[in-house]
């Protein structure tokens, strides 16, 4: 296990960037850029091992208890 202070938070891992060169409605773009849910409980989020190997990872974490259930590399599905 690594210490939390080696990592930096990268936001909600379930948000998917709209594809390049495709029409995006104002609403969809707005949701992508600004709107995030503040969930209590299980949450999938991005972290970067910024003071280490610099890998971006997906972490499934309970926001209330901080329990960590699963971690995978960022391009993998969680």
């Amino acid at each position: 296990m690594r210490s939390q202070n080696e990592f930096s938070y990268g936001g909600d891992a379930t948000v998917k960037r709209p594809e390049l060169n495709k029409e995006v409605s104002d609403k969809d773009w707005d949701n992508f850029v600004y709107n995030r849910k503040s969930l209590r409980g299980k949450h999938k989020e991005l972290w970067q091992h910024i003071s280490g190997c610099r890998q971006w990872i997906k972490v499934e974490r309970d926001t209330a208890t901080h329990e960590i259930f699963k971690t995978v590399k960022a391009h993998e599905d969680i």
Binding site: M1, S3, W56, T65, H66, K73, A74, H75
Partner: protein
């Protein structure tokens, strides 16, 4: 002064070593192994300070971490620390302490007038009284409260002590070295587990040091000593005394503060004073024991009233009598143990027991020793102001509601025992939902939340036999789970006296016509009546009652007061305690110094200081440095008595006239390699990148997804699939993360690698009309003409045998080059440039001249790319591709971003051409308009234009396109300046950019 209360033949102190110390200016003596409290009591001192709210006299209540009020201002090695618990502070030669919270002296305290006011300061008094009138607050109420309240005084000096942090892993962390801690540590260690055993006191053994028990044919103390010395010898065990585990966090991470030097007159050279341990434990055993509960009666805060367990500890550990005419007031058998110890040491105690006819081995022993016992009796009130002189006692009816005739018993101390409260702070901090145990009238840990197990008294187990058995078992079972070893150590035979049940009665009713204060929280002066008022006024939640009355707050965190407070609320509300619930236990369990928490990360150690390879040259040449992010950069090179203004002007002028050289090592550099590198750049930057030829650089701007400019810089194509990106000094780390994010998370299909090379390359910018001539001399074999190395061109060459990269890029707006060599050769490069540049009148220039040059050229930098501007604001429309998509492009169409009157970067010149405009000044139309004066824009950067020899600024202003030519005012209320200005183009010098291409 003599130690009149010290006994000769009992205690664990070292009588061979006498120690002198000062309290409130008077010199006393104690022994090595004393605490400040035990040494003071040995000298008959019981008046330590004044209480927080009423300034009532304060003595000692406990003998360790449980102490709520015997705190002092400590002086050690020319430094001072407030609020040190006398019961925890070990004595050392030359210790000096003074009382806190009393003025002018502890014996005569003006604030004590509060105590004689007819109406006491009741719960919520401050909230109610000082709310009105509002204007009185600053002038009258606040100074009064500040003077009257407050604890010790924090030092304003820099703390010269060293504090350290340490990270440790273990299989089992055991908090507390009493019987359960020792037994479980021993069993686990014998079974091969890595164990850390922490004890907050200097001595290991906990209650075994004071109780009359027998373990495997040894006294409890001997057994503890043997176990500890065996544990200390084992390589898989860390044993730490003076170490308090004070916080339990997520993922079984605990923190512990170790006091290494507080017990010494002076910290040894190179040693820390305290050390903070971050411990990750696979399993945690909480053996933190229990704290005795007070009984509540009138004036129960008088000096001389103390916990019976504390009296026993002073006697057995320090050989100190807390009084010579002790009165023991108890509702359980523990008080008898204290009484028996007094009797054995030649002092006659009197026991008042609230119970009617209790029977047990301990009570029988007390009777055998001829100790006077009064059953069904209570102390109604303590008498005496600065010290207990007598006790008003009475018989109490069986239903505990009626008091009999009051009588006085002479005594000089009242030792109280209201049974025991398990110390559940750590378990609760771990997330354990505690449960109320009716048998002991206290909360104990419930189901474990994390990997924690609570043992012994902390778990409500008060017999030694059961404690040891459970602890040996737990130590074995938990270690087996981790190590897979199977060496079981079983519990030895235990002999202890059996005790009987305690009385649930704990709060003595007031006799008719009496208004004695009965205190619950001794640190915060919270009395029974305060809780009653709070409930009467409608406070119901225990969390609200706590905040309204301050019950259980401050440094004490309700160690002795919590449960009695809950009992009282539940009695009045006619509820049972578990319905009331307890307030949240939060770390730290005991106060921890800020120094310990901060550790070594102070001053220059708070962040790394990065220096360029040429740093020592800059130092030798009188550079005045400035912090640029984590870097130290030369601001200017001082000649003689030059000011910053004079020096930077000289340097900037020389760049415009001849040639200058600037250390640009700090610019962020990122190496980008891979077949999809061009595609990545094309998506990251706003302009087109697919057609950049090898050997060419291009300027680019990158955005965040919300359209705001993130950073700018040049990227050079070194070879087919290899690019060299530069970023601003400040954003280097963020840009790297940004690229990694898109490569790893969003577009993992792109075959590109990025890596920071900021520290691999040393950079020198050579700028000025004579820079080409200089470059030619530095690199005689290259063609430096516009054909050979055009603007935004790139070459690799040898600099006197050293590999170098040459970029024809310019930040100054002059003809300029940047030369990069591997960091190790940085100084060599710099010295060569200076040596050969001499004939071209070269001068080094710092960041101040660099700013001047870029501002008057209208080149944007961090002050314009401030996280609020989009490319259009910075007149970078030409760089925003219409054809391709890129990060943030979709946001650029937002209504506000394309508004006609959108803000823009412009130039600003004072009309008088003399007055410099302070950065941050607001631009307004009418200097005399009513406040709030509508703001049109603000000054982002200012300089003294060396080209025109007058002040020039950049500003970001609304409707910037149409503002050029307008006359406005720059107002800086902070500098008290109003300057008439004219808006001009931001490209003040060489607007066509001819020089860079010359």
């Amino acid at each position: 002064m003599t130690q009149n209360y010290r006994l000769d033949n009992i205690g664990l102190i070292n009588r061979d070593k006498k120690i002198s110390f000062k309290f409130n200016g008077v010199t006393y003596f104690g022994y090595e192994g004393d605490t400040l409290a035990s040494a003071l009591i040995a000298n008959g001192i019981h008046l330590i300070g004044r209480s927080f709210k009423y300034h009532r006299p304060r003595g000692f209540f406990g003998a360790g971490v449980d102490e709520p009020y015997a705190i002092v201002q400590l002086y050690r090695n020319n430094e001072t620390e407030p609020n040190i618990k006398t019961t925890e502070q070990e004595l050392f030669e030359g210790l000096e302490a003074t009382s806190v919270n009393c003025w002018p002296s502890v014996n005569f305290d003006i604030g004590a007038i509060n105590n004689f006011l007819k109406i006491f300061l009741p719960a919520g008094f401050y909230y109610k009284t000082f709310m009105w009138p509002k204007s009185f607050w600053y002038k009258i109420y606040e100074p009064f409260i500040r003077k009257a309240a407050g604890l010790g005084v924090a030092s304003i000096e820099h703390d010269k002590e060293r504090y350290e942090h340490k990270y440790e892993y273990c299989d089992l962390l055991i908090a507390g070295s009493g019987p359960s801690g020792l037994a479980s540590a021993y069993a686990a260690a014998k079974n091969g587990a890595r164990v850390i055993l922490a004890e907050d006191k200097p001595r290991f053994g906990g209650t075994l040091l004071t109780s009359e028990v027998n373990i495997g044919n040894q006294t409890g103390k001997e057994w503890a000593e043997n176990i500890i010395s065996e544990l200390k010898e084992m390589p898989n065990v860390i044993v730490k005394n003076r170490s308090q585990v004070f916080g339990y966090y997520d993922h079984n991470m605990l923190v512990m503060s170790e006091k290494l030097s507080d017990h010494l007159p002076k910290t040894k050279k190179y040693n820390p004073k305290q050390r903070l341990w971050y411990i990750r434990a696979k399993e945690v055993l909480i053996s933190s024991g229990s704290i005795e509960r007070p009984l509540v009666f009138g004036n129960n805060d008088t000096p001389g009233v103390m916990l019976s367990s504390a009296a026993k500890e002073y006697l057995k550990v320090y050989g100190v009598l807390v009084g010579k005419k002790p009165l023991i007031f108890t509702n359980n058998d523990s008080g008898y143990e204290t009484a028996i110890e007094f009797k054995k040491n030649g002092v006659d105690p009197i026991i008042l027991d609230t119970r009617k006819e209790p029977k047990s081995e301990i009570i029988d022993e007390a009777k055998k020793l001829d100790i006077q016992i009064k059953f069904s009796h209570v102390v109604v009130a303590a008498k005496g102001y600065k010290k207990v002189k007598s006790a008003e006692v009475a018989k109490i009816s069986d239903d505990k509601n009626e008091l009999g005739t009051l009588e006085n018993i002479n005594c000089d101390c009242i030792c109280v025992s209201g049974f025991w409260t398990p110390t559940i702070h750590l378990a609760s901090q771990s997330g354990n939902k505690t449960i109320f145990n009716k048998d002991i009238d206290a909360f104990v840990p419930g189901l474990s939340k994390q990997n924690e197990t609570t043992l012994g008294a902390a778990n409500g187990t008060f017999t030694l036999e059961e404690t040891l058995k459970n602890s040996f078992d737990s130590g074995y079972e938990l270690s087996k789970k981790i190590t897979n070893n199977d060496n079981k150590t079983s519990s030895p035979i235990v002999m202890e006296k059996k005790s009987t049940t305690h009385d649930k009665f704990w709060c003595v009713p007031l006799p008719k016509g009496k208004t004695y204060k009965r205190f619950l929280d001794f640190q915060n002066d919270v009395a029974v009546s305060d809780i009653e008022i709070a409930l009467k006024e409608g406070y119901r939640s225990i969390e609200h009652v706590k905040r309204y009355t301050t019950l259980g707050m401050a440094t004490d965190q309700g160690k002795t007061s919590n449960l009695n407070g809950l009992q009282l609320v539940s009695n009045i509300e006619n509820k049972i305690v578990p319905e009331v619930g307890h307030t949240t236990f939060r770390p730290p369990y005991t106060p921890v110094t800020i120094g310990t928490i901060v550790g070594r990360e102070i001053g220059k150690h708070s962040k790394p200081t990065r220096k360029s390879p040429m740093h020592s040259w800059h130092e030798k040449n009188n550079a005045v440095f400035v912090d640029a992010g984590v870097w130290l950069r030369p601001r200017y090179y001082k000649i003689g008595e030059e000011t910053l203004f004079e020096g930077s002007k000289r340097e900037a002028k020389n760049v415009r006239a001849n040639v200058g050289v600037c250390d640009v090592t700090t610019l962020g550099k990122i190496d980008i390699k891979g077949p999809d590198a061009a595609e990545l750049l094309n998506r990251v930057y706003t302009n087109a990148w697919l057609k950049l030829p090898v050997g060419k650089a291009r300027y680019g701007v990158m955005l965040r997804e919300d359209g705001i400019v993130m950073d700018d810089g040049t990227t050079t194509r070194i070879s087919e699939n290899h690019y060299h990106m530069t970023t601003t000094t400040a954003q280097a780390a963020n840009v790297l993360s940004h690229l990694e994010y898109y490569l790893q998370v969003v577009w993992p299909e792109l075959n590109v690698n990025v890596v920071s090379t900021t520290e691999q390359w040393a950079g020198a910018a050579i700028a000025g009309p004579k820079s080409r001539d200089l470059l030619q001399k530095l690199f005689p074999n290259i063609d430096t003409s516009n054909d050979g190395l055009p603007f935004m061109g790139y070459l690799e060459a040898e600099l006197f045998g050293v590999h170098a990269r040459i970029f024809r890029i310019s930040f100054s707006g002059e003809l300029a080059y940047e030369v990069n060599v591997e960091s190790d050769n940085g100084n060599f490069m710099w010295e060569k440039i200076m040596e050969i540049g001499k004939e071209f009148e070269i001068q080094p220039y710092g960041t101040e001249a660099l700013s001047t040059l870029r501002i008057e050229m209208g080149h944007i930098a961090g002050s314009e790319l401030d996280g609020r501007t989009i490319p259009y604001d910075n007149s970078l429309e030409g760089l925003v591709s219409k054809k391709k998509d890129f990060i943030g492009k979709r946001s650029l169409g937002r209504k506000a971003f394309v508004a006609e009157d959108r803000q823009k970067v412009v130039g600003v010149v004072p009309i008088d051409k003399k007055t410099s405009i302070p950065e941050g000044s607001h631009l307004v139309k009418d200097a005399k308009a009513q406040i709030p004066n509508p703001k049109l824009g603000y000054i982002s950067a200012s300089c003294w234009s060396v080209e025109y020899d007058n002040p020039f600024s950049l500003a970001i202003i609304k409707d910037g396109k149409n503002m050029i030519g307008q006359k406005l005012f720059a107002m800086s209320p902070l500098k008290n300046k109003t300057i008439p200005v004219e808006i001009v183009s931001s490209h003040y010098v060489d607007p066509k950019g001819e020089r860079v291409r010359s």
